[in-house]
Subunit: 189 residues, 2 copies
């Protein structure tokens, strides 16, 4: 059952009674998507926060030349949205799209506020999630500033071999700031 | 009074009684530092979380060639540490150093846990802080992937002119992934 994945994730961080958990899950919506479906549009109000039960999401933007550029991936048990736009209820700076067929949990901004007000212990859950996510972002800035794009690719492949198998080459290239041609060239070496 | 800056920042996000606030401030330590003092050492256990009352901190690492590279700055009202290492009580991947003479609040990991347990509403405060910080990191990934290093410099200068005045050139160059020589060259154009 899809609910159990999110419940187990929440239970890793915070203790709730079974009754509380059965109420908490009602705040969320559950949807299955095919590959390449759009869940969030840049330029539209960012009203949803997403959690990956199964599959993969990408957060991307389109640059001045019309190229799609990935800023973040989310696989199983990751939360994703344009957090600044979500928090301020502004227009999104990013698109969110499924990379694979995916099972996704979502929560609207108003339900998120209601959830946090009704179950304040969920603050601890999200505090811990975001603390980790921000910490990981600082490490990513370190990697970006430490290595050439070529070295970044090899490090990424060594650290996340399964992920590199899962994700199309052109998306991985875009995430690492490489052109697809350059990635093909590196891989031939 | 230095306490009032942190109290006012907390009050922006969460409502506490004056009595609660007077207890909360006791969890924190307050120190003044000169420019270029080290607050956190890479390779040592990361046991402190910092808040800038006045001044500026930088989070940096030293690359294989011995160059200091800045991953993050924190000015007034920003929290900073190696969050992954702090959360897991591991060795820090970064150094933290004052960029200017600074007044800094710090809290140890055990006091942070005690604070969150004693005043669960502080979870909301830090949840909001980290939500914003992670959202800002996603925007920074977007900028890094959108612009050449030269364009990044000009965008940064236009968006944060006061900050560019405050911070030494070589640190700004390091933050933007430029060599100081390249930054000088750009600025001459």
């Amino acid at each position: 059952m899809t609910n159990s994945i999110l419940i187990n994730h929440i239970k890793t961080y915070v203790t709730f009674s079974e009754e509380e958990l059965s109420e908490i899950v009602l705040f969320f919506d559950y949807h299955s998507y095919h590959k390449k479906e759009t869940l969030l549009l840049a330029g539209k109000q960012c009203n949803k926060l997403f959690f990956v039960l199964k599959g993969c999401l990408q957060l991307y933007f389109i640059d001045n030349l019309g190229n799609q550029k990935t800023s973040q991936f989310a696989i199983e048990h990751w939360w994703l949205t344009d957090f600044l736009a979500f928090q301020n209820q502004n227009q999104s700076n990013f698109y969110i799209e499924t990379v694979e067929n995916s099972k996704i949990v979502s929560i609207s901004f108003s339900k998120y506020q209601e959830l946090l007000d009704t179950f304040p212990k969920m603050e601890k859950y999200f505090r811990t999630i975001y603390e980790t996510a921000y910490g990981a972002a600082l490490m990513r800035f370190k990697y970006i500033n430490s290595f050439s794009k070529e070295e970044l690719f090899f490090r990424f492949r060594d650290n996340f071999p399964e992920f590199v198998q899962r994700v199309p080459q052109y998306l991985l290239a875009s995430f690492l700031g490489l052109t697809p041609e350059y990635l093909s060239e590196i891989k031939r070496k």
